[in-house]
Assembly symmetry: C2
Homo-oligomer: 160 residues x 2
């Protein structure tokens, strides 16, 4: 683990603590700030429509996986049915998402974005995409593959 930079030795009580050297505070903080600003882009747009980040997530996944059922969505978001209910209802009432009774199992509600929903999903993703493109360009050639692999490995269950 090279290039860890200057972690300062500090005084804890009367013993010197240089434990920090084991901890990668540098990337922890970079990740925090990167993600904070990454999500701030869509937040500004969402506010106008009275929506929040919860709506963004629902809209995003429904848009990306058209025909998703409610159960699918709950599983992806890892929230409870009751938590999803209000957010989903607002998106449906606002005309961004529509439900279609499952063709095989009529208990299911397949979810689709409407044209407006797709437009909103796109508007939300656009500034994020631009931010990513800019960062990749500044980082240099090959950055995309490296970043992709890194992020994929950061996720749980990424095949160890």
């Amino acid at each position: 683990m090279a290039g860890q930079s200057k972690e300062n030795t500090r005084y804890v009580g009367d013993t010197v603590a240089h434990d920090d050297d084991t901890i990668d505070f540098e990337i922890i903080e970079l990740l925090f700030f990167a993600y904070r600003d990454f999500t701030s882009d869509p937040d500004a747009i969402l506010e106008k429509g009275g929506f929040g980040r919860a709506h963004h997530r629902v809209l995003h996944f429904v848009d990306r996986e058209p025909g998703m059922t409610v159960a699918n969505l709950l599983d992806t978001l890892k929230i409870t049915k009751q938590s999803l209910a209000r957010v989903l209802k607002q998106l449906i009432d606002s005309g961004y998402i529509r439900q279609v009774t499952g063709p095989e199992d009529r208990r299911q509600r397949m979810l689709y974005t409407t044209e407006e929903g797709q437009a909103l999903a796109r508007a939300l993703a656009e500034p994020q995409s631009r931010r990513i493109a800019h960062a990749l360009a500044k980082t240099g050639p090959g950055a995309r593959e490296t970043v992709k692999r890194f992020l994929a490995c950061m996720k749980n269950g990424a095949g160890d």
Copy 2:
């Protein structure tokens, strides 16, 4: 913008929409899942002590920048004084953070982690650091520099 992968053309009404090709959904999603799981590590530890992510952030920054004032902290976290108040008070009452009246300006309260606070901050950072080390190792040599640069550029005000 190469290697964008297979964005499907979809049917919106009766016109074909291949706009998605402009949007980097792949990295947007990788970031979402990476960060979701990255924060889940400390969340589990925090729950035991009745703390949440808000406490983690406060503890982290005070630990990293000892002697920080309340105003500094508000500026870093970008939350309001009232929002900070409850969380900070709990951390002080629990003995993880202590306040020292500013030596020059006695209105200020300089914040420091106690030994317990440092231990907790470390315990929270450790699984995150391990996750990062693992991902960097799996990504390959040179990954650290590339990822660092990428993340730094994702942040606002990173020099264009």
